[in-house]
Structures are given as C-alpha cells and as structure tokens.
C-alpha cells in the first residue's frame, strides 16, 4: 500500500458544527425566481428523495422531468417502508434534541459517517414532520390529538413518528401528491415506465440522460442543466433482499462508469427481523418492522438439544419454561436489550444459530409477543402491529398472537452509494445523488427510521439550496439532444442492448442473479473474512465472464421486454459485486454492518481501527483505484460502541 491515495474534498462549510448549514444557506448562490424557468432539471427516481426533490424544485419554478421505472411514481420502493421516521421534536419530553439525534446517528453508524451531513440531517428532521403533517399525512395520534411516537433501535428516546406499519406509504403518498400537483400545473413532466441507461456529459458537466421507454423499447435522450439520481439502494445485488423486485443499481452504476465515484460499497445493512427463507424458489424476503422489537422479545432455546427438539416439532415454543429460554439480546445488552442497533441484533442471531440453537429451518430465532400481550392485552398489540401480524400470518400460515414469530436477518439497505460532497454533488459537476443512492449519512450502519428522514431531508430541504448554488453560475443555454455526446451515448446504449440479445446462451438471467446473490451472501454478507472474500472475488469474476458468454436474453429491444430489463440490471450487479468485495477486503477492521471476523473484541463485538480506517473509501471505475475522504470528528469522540 505504498501508493499514495488521493484525498477528496467534501466542501464542508467552515464554522462550528451547529452553524454550518445556516452559514451555507446564507452564502449559497441564488437563482432569481424569474430565471428559474430557464433551467431544466432531470430527477431520476420518484421515491421519497426523488418525489420530494422534483416537487420542491418545480414549485420554485424550475422545469423538471421526473423518471421512474414503475408504472406510477407512487409505487417507488419507499412505499414499502413500515416502521417510521425519526425527528428530534422532543414532543415526548424525554430528553431528545438535535444533538442527541445527531449523536445517536453518528454512533449508530459506528463513526464512519460525516459529522457535518449528519448534523444537518438532525436539524432538518423537525421540518420534515411539519411538512408531512401539512400535506395531510395521517400520522398516529394520542388521545389528546397530538402526534404519537415510538422508539426504535439504537436510541433511548421515543422520536419515531409513524402511520401504523405503513409509514413509507403515507410519506410517499404525501410527496407523490405534491409531485402530482406540479404535474397538473405543468411544471413537472412525468415519465413512468422509463429506465435511465446512461448519463450524458458535455464539457465535464452532467447534461442529460439516455432512457429506454419500457413499453416500446424506444431509446431517447433528455437534456438538462443538472441531473439528480434518486434511484435508491442496491441490496438486490444479493438476489434475495427486502427490497422491491425492481430495485437496482443501474443508473448509479452507469454514472459511476462515466466518472462518478462510488463510496463505501461494502457497507450493507442486514436487518435482524425478516421472515426466514423457506425454499429455493423464493424471489423475495419480507421484512417485519423493527418497531416489533419494542414489544417482542427475541429468544432461542437455551441449548442445541432443546432447539433440535423444537425444530423437529417434538416441543412447542410455549412449552419451554423461562429457564430453558435464552433471551440473548437482553442477556448480552441489558441497557438496550431488544432495541440494540440492527447490525448487533443480526450478528447475534447468526451466532446463536451457528451454535445450533436456531429454530425453524435452523436459521431462525423467535420474536415473541406473549409477555406484551399478557401485559397490554391483545387489543393494544393489535392496534400497534395489526397489519404486520396479518402479513406474517398470510406468508407463513402461523398466528403470531398464539405462537412466536420466526425471524432471521436479511439484506435490507445499502449505506454505500455514490460519493457526494456536502452539497450532495457527486464527483461529476451537475450530477447529484439523493436518498439511499448516496453514501452520505449513515456510516457503516443505519439506524431504523432514518432512511425516510434522509430521503425527505435531501429532497425537500437540501437540494433546493445546493442546486441553486450550482445553477447560479450556469449559463441558460440548452444543449440539444442532437449534440454528438447524446448521439454517441444513445449508440452505446443500443450497442450494449444488442450485445445482450445476441449472446443467446442457455442460462436464464435469474440463474446468474441467484448465483451472484448466494456468493455475496456467503462471503460478503453478515460476516466476512479475507479468505472468503478472496474466494468470492474469483467466483464473481467467473460469473460475470460466464454471463457475457452464456446468458439467454429472449425477445427484442423494440418491445416491452422484462427479460432484457433484468439482464441489464444483473450485468451491472455483477460488476458492483466485484467492487463490494474489493472494498470489504481493503477495510481491515470491523465497523457497523461490515464485520470482518479477523477483527473483533474478545466478546465478539466489532473492533474498529480508527487509526487506519477512519475514512470513506471512494472508488473510481475500472482500475480499482481508491480515493479517500478522511473523517474528522470535532463534536463526538469515537469510542467503541457499547449498548450494554
């Protein structure tokens, strides 16, 4: 490692942490309202980040083109978020504050996030709730009519706002309604069932995109003064995840190929409470919201022998006495108990299953509501979690009011993403990344209910300022899509599509996706070793090479073609997988969701190495060239995370 790694500048404003954002806003360049209509903005993605950005920018007067691959902007993956959204409102009078939310997020992220961004996020959190309520989002209320809160993992205060188990749905419908209003007003042009396949750069700046109309297959270009990627996370690189089936990395990856650097790709979150895998033909995993850990207790039978009896059906969980149960989270982490952060909860579930104490297929632990039902009554539990319990019952055929749920960790969220500076701009001028698509706020582990907060903060409250600053120095001229850069990009996209169609091998796209997923889960999942990662590196490369020789993509481009859509996405996942492995290999420490078995404390907790690894790893496409952004902690002192 003698080569000196280049250092990237995050352009963090000067001043004390709590004043940075106001200082930035006071000095940012502005575009006069009458001139905003001279700028065209492309927003890719209509999840929380994209819809809120598109609506807010259109309202300010910019001309917005909004894209999503679903049939309607309202169906973006954000719709599936269940548990809630954090905000430092301190409505509960339980000691919450902007600082505490900031601190919990930095600590929860295991000191691998940028302080300035996280502080801004905590500051903006309170405005988000105001905005959402004004839009008519029916958040849960107390009897007196004020907003209700629940608590989530990694926090000792109740700051999570929620709308039953459908918070993401309600927040997205709010943002979608704001977007719909702008569509009606003619300020946003919506392109649903369109997929971005390339970014167009003119004179070093992001100036447009190449898209495929997913109904007709037509390839065309759109030109703009800036491009926002709000395309969500890449958890589907593991094939099985809690993400929606269509979630993908393609837009970010193609931008990466054009020069946008990718940060911390190996930081993925494995969520502790998902419905366990049932068989080989499964396409999707289902999350059971973390909010369940407020009332549910996680346990396994005390010994492998007892567990085996339970697995074989000779003993039912209710029959196990208190002494025969191991409430392993409560035992190991008395202060946080079942509400430890996700990475900790997941890892511990894996440990007890590895010890042979798993239930179900052996890869499951119990999440038990018996005591909560006894304490509060079934009605109270039903009113809090009714729809989640119903969903569980529908999927598994078991009644969680009577028997404990079986749960196991699953891939859920990706903290890594395109590198952005404080202004959410990538390394390509004029190209921004918002929401889960960027890497910025969650470090090596995201706390529950913080992704929704980040998506909306980015879209409603950050980008309107930072984009204005960029555009204030930008000429109005538009670049026609007849410009050679567009023409060239279109040709390239078509060439790649033809290449996929011509392979005509004999394995399906899903086959490669599954193989990639299995390999990533095994070696680059919940715990990682150098040896395993090196094996995976070879395997993924082989898979990628084989894919390009032997995949079978049926049909033609000029048609709705699901197979072709998937093939393009899997091709990108295969490249991303390699990068994730590379990143996991270079990070010779454990932090948050990145657990390298070689680096752990005697108690099996993640062992960070701040001296050598207190940085963001930032990758350039192609030559595996890594850049760094050093993380400076001014306000909080990194310590070993303790939830005991």
């Amino acid at each position: 490692m003698a080569v000196k790694t280049p250092i990237l500048d995050a352009k963090i404003p000067k001043g004390t942490l709590s004043e940075k954002w106001s200082a930035y806003k006071s000095h940012a360049g502005l575009v006069n309202p009458a001139n905003r209509r001279k700028y065209d903005i492309i927003v890719v993605g209509t999840g929380l980040a994209g819809s809120s950005a598109a609506a807010s920018l259109a309202e300010m007067g910019y001309n917005v083109k909004s894209f999503c691959f679903q049939d309607s902007p309202r169906r973006a993956h954000s719709i599936a978020a269940q548990g809630g959204i954090n905000a430092a409102k301190n409505y509960q009078n339980d000691g919450d504050s902007v600082f505490r939310l900031f601190y919990d997020t930095i600590k929860g992220g295991d000191y691998r996030a940028r302080e300035a961004n996280v502080h801004r996020l905590a500051e903006l959190s309170t405005h988000i709730i105001d905005q959402c309520v004004a839009q008519g989002i029916p958040f849960a209320r107390e009897y007196g009519g004020l907003l209700a809160n629940r608590s989530f993992g990694g926090a000792q205060v109740s700051r999570t706002f929620y709308a039953r188990g459908q918070t993401g749905q309600q927040l997205l419908l709010g943002a979608y309604s704001a977007l719909s209003r702008q569509i009606q007003l003619g300020k946003v042009q919506q392109f649903s069932r369109h997929e971005i396949l390339d970014l167009v750069i003119v004179e070093g700046k992001a100036r447009g995109v190449v898209v495929r109309d997913l109904v007709s297959g037509k390839i065309s270009s759109h030109s703009a003064h800036a491009v926002l990627l709000c395309t969500g996370g890449y958890g589907n690189v593991y094939f099985l995840s809690t993400n929606a089936m269509g979630s993908n990395v393609t837009a970010c990856w193609r931008a990466h190929k054009k020069g946008a650097f990718f940060a911390n790709p190996c930081f993925t979150q494995i969520h502790p409470t998902c419905i366990p895998v049932h068989g080989d033909h499964q396409s999707k995993l289902t999350l059971m919201s973390e909010s369940l850990r407020n009332d549910g207790r996680v346990w396994v039978p005390k010994t492998p022998a007892l567990a085996e009896k339970v697995r074989k059906g000779g003993l039912s969980p209710e029959e196990l006495s208190e002494e025969d149960r191991d409430y392993f989270l409560e035992r190991r982490y008395p202060a946080f108990g079942n509400l430890v952060p996700r990475d900790v909860a997941s890892r511990n579930a894996k440990y007890v299953c590895d010890e042979g104490k798993g239930v179900g297929t052996g890869l499951a632990v119990f999440l038990d509501f018996r005591d909560a039902i006894k304490r509060d009554g079934e009605d109270v539990i039903r009113s809090k979690y009714g729809n989640l319990f119903d969903m569980y019952q529908q999927i598994t055929g078991q009644d969680p009011y009577r028997v404990p749920m079986n749960i196991y960790p699953a891939v859920h969220y990706t903290m890594g993403g395109l590198w952005v500076d404080y202004q959410l701009m990538t390394t390509i001028p004029g190209l921004y990344a918002l929401g889960e698509a960027n890497f910025s706020d969650h470090g090596a582990n995201r706390l529950g209910a913080s992704a929704l907060m980040q998506g909306l903060a980015d879209g409603y409250f950050v980008i309107p300022y930072t984009l204005g600053d960029y555009l204030s120095n930008m000429p109005y001229e538009k670049i026609p899509t007849t410009h050679p850069a567009f023409q060239e990009a279109e040709k390239e996209v078509l060439r790649d599509i033809q290449k996929l169609l011509q392979i005509q091998g004999n394995k399906s796209v899903d086959y490669y996706h599954k193989q990639l997923g299995l390999c990533m889960w095994e070696y680059c999942g919940m715990s990682r070793t150098q040896k395993g990662l090196e094996k995976a590196r070879i395997r993924v490369k082989e898979l990628r090479e084989e894919f390009w020789k032997n995949v079978k993509v049926v049909g033609k481009n000029e048609d709705m073609n699901l197979c072709l859509e998937k093939a393009g996405r899997v091709a990108d996942f295969l490249e991303l997988g390699e990068l994730m492995i590379e990143d996991a290999l270079q990070r010779e420490e454990s932090c948050g969701g990145h657990f390298r078995e070689e680096y752990q404390t005697p108690e099996g907790e993640a062992l960070r190495n701040d001296e050598l690894f207190s940085f963001v790893s930032i990758w350039e496409y192609g030559q595996k060239k890594m850049h760094k952004e050093h993380l400076n902690f001014e306000e909080v002192k990194p310590t070993q995370r303790s939830y005991k």
Binding site: S52, Q70, I79, R141, A178, Q394, S508
Partner: protein
C-alpha cells in the same frame, strides 16, 4: 403440488390475445403465486420463449403494482394482493385462469400488464393539499382527534391497485376516488380545498371513462386493503355539498 395455468397472452395493445396453457409440477405450497410465475418465466426464457409479462414490485402488498385476475377474481381468491397470495390457498392439481385487469380506462399493454395512469391523472386533478415546501406551522399546532386520524388512515391505506375498478361491472373508480377524498376531507389540513378537490377528481374520473357507481359494493369485497364503501357515502356527501355550496369555496 401440481397446477395448471391458463394465462392470457397478448403481445401488445393492438393485437388480439388468447389463453395459453402451462403445467407446473413440484410447486411448494409456501411459494407465493408470483413466485410460481417467476419459475415459469425462467423455464420459458431457457426455452427461448417470451416470458409472461406481469406487473409487480414490492411483493409485500403495499405498492399496488401487482394486478391480475385469477379465476375471474381480482388478485385471486382471498382478499389480499396477488403478491401476498400463497399456493397453499389452492388445491393440488387445480386449474387457474389468469387474466389482466379488464376495464376500458386500463388498456392492456402486454400479457397481464395494463396501463393504470388514469388513476394518477385523477390524483393530479386534485388529490392533494396545496402546500408548498417549507413555511408550514409546527406539526403539533393543530391537534387531530385520534378517531379522525384513524379513520383518515383507513382511507389513506388505499394502494391504488385498481382491483375495485376491475371488480366492478361498470368499471367505476368510485372506491379509489372515495378513499382519497375521504382521507383528506377528514383531516383539518384537507378541509380548505375539500369542495374543489371532490369536484375536480370526479370530473377527471368521468373524463377517463370510468363508469358510474351503482352501489353493488363488489369493490369493497375485492379491495385488498379493506377500504369500506362508507367512504363512497362520504364522497357523495362531499360532492353534494360542493354542488349546493359552491360559493363557500
């Protein structure tokens, strides 16, 4: 288990479609219905045939993307979305007829995929509170009774799937529109624009060619989110009030 599927195949909006038969064996009762279609598609692709195109995304019953009839019923035999339907709901050896939503405002795009943007256009016509970003009051400045918030949330749970339209002999979108109108009309935030909202949304619904509501409540019986027809009653009331009191707008 074994299953035979008769699936509607149609290569594009202008061509005529027909049913094709597919037999599958070794299906796990724990698989979801859409996982069975996935399985079939892998088989078709490996044989070099065009896979069955169907809409889906979240597979958690919340995005409202999945949309098909099984044996004539939107989303299939139980009152859930198709993606939440598991093979244990069927008998071994059963024959299932699978079709796209049938309604004039939902033209077929390909196989089981239809165009439901007419629903988006109804929302665009007025399904919102016209607030801008920023400059809004503190969230707790306006208390909302728990009952009202809960009732509003019941309505807001609509996933926009269109099963109500698909189940209605008139292809009426009343339950969908009522859910949105009700969600907002119940809350103080939505009260300001309640009169214009209901009129504009209904006007758009008519323009899209959705039929009128004749109160058969078939929609409620098929709605995967249990949206109650009582919201249609509220919609009618809102509409009526808006008509007789236009000047209070």
């Amino acid at each position: 288990m074994k299953i035979t599927l008769k699936i509607w195949r149609q290569s594009n909006s202008s061509e005529k479609g027909n049913f094709q038969t597919y037999s599958l064996e070794d299906i796990s009762p724990d698989s979801s219905f859409l996982e069975v279609l996935d399985l079939l598609n892998v088989r078709l692709e490996e044989e070099g045939k065009d896979p069955i195109h169907f809409d889906h995304d979240c597979r958690e019953g919340i995005c409202g993307t999945c949309s098909l009839y099984i044996n004539g019923r939107p989303h299939g035999p139980s009152q859930t979305t198709t993606c939440q339907l598991h093979m244990r709901s069927f008998k071994d050896g059963e024959l299932l007829w699978v079709e796209p939503w049938r309604a004039k405002p939902f033209p077929v795009i390909k196989d089981l995929v239809v165009d439901r943007n007419s629903l988006d256009r109804i929302i665009q016509a007025g399904g919102y509170v016209s607030v801008r970003t920023g400059g809004v009051p503190d969230a707790n400045s306006l208390p909302v009774g728990q009952d009202l918030a809960e009732e509003s949330m019941d309505a807001a749970s609509c996933i926009g799937c269109g099963a109500c339209v698909a189940s209605c002999k008139n292809a009426s979108a009343m339950l969908f529109v009522a859910a949105k109108v009700s969600h907002l009309a119940l809350l103080p935030q939505g009260k300001v624009e309640r009169q214009s909202r209901v009129q504009e949304m209904i006007a758009q619904m008519d323009k899209e060619g959705f039929g009128s509501c004749t109160n058969t409540a078939a929609c409620e019986a098929e709605c995967p989110k249990n949206i109650s027809v009582s919201h249609i009653a509220r919609l009618n009331r809102e509409f009526f009030l808006a008509k007789i009191l236009p000047e209070t707008k």
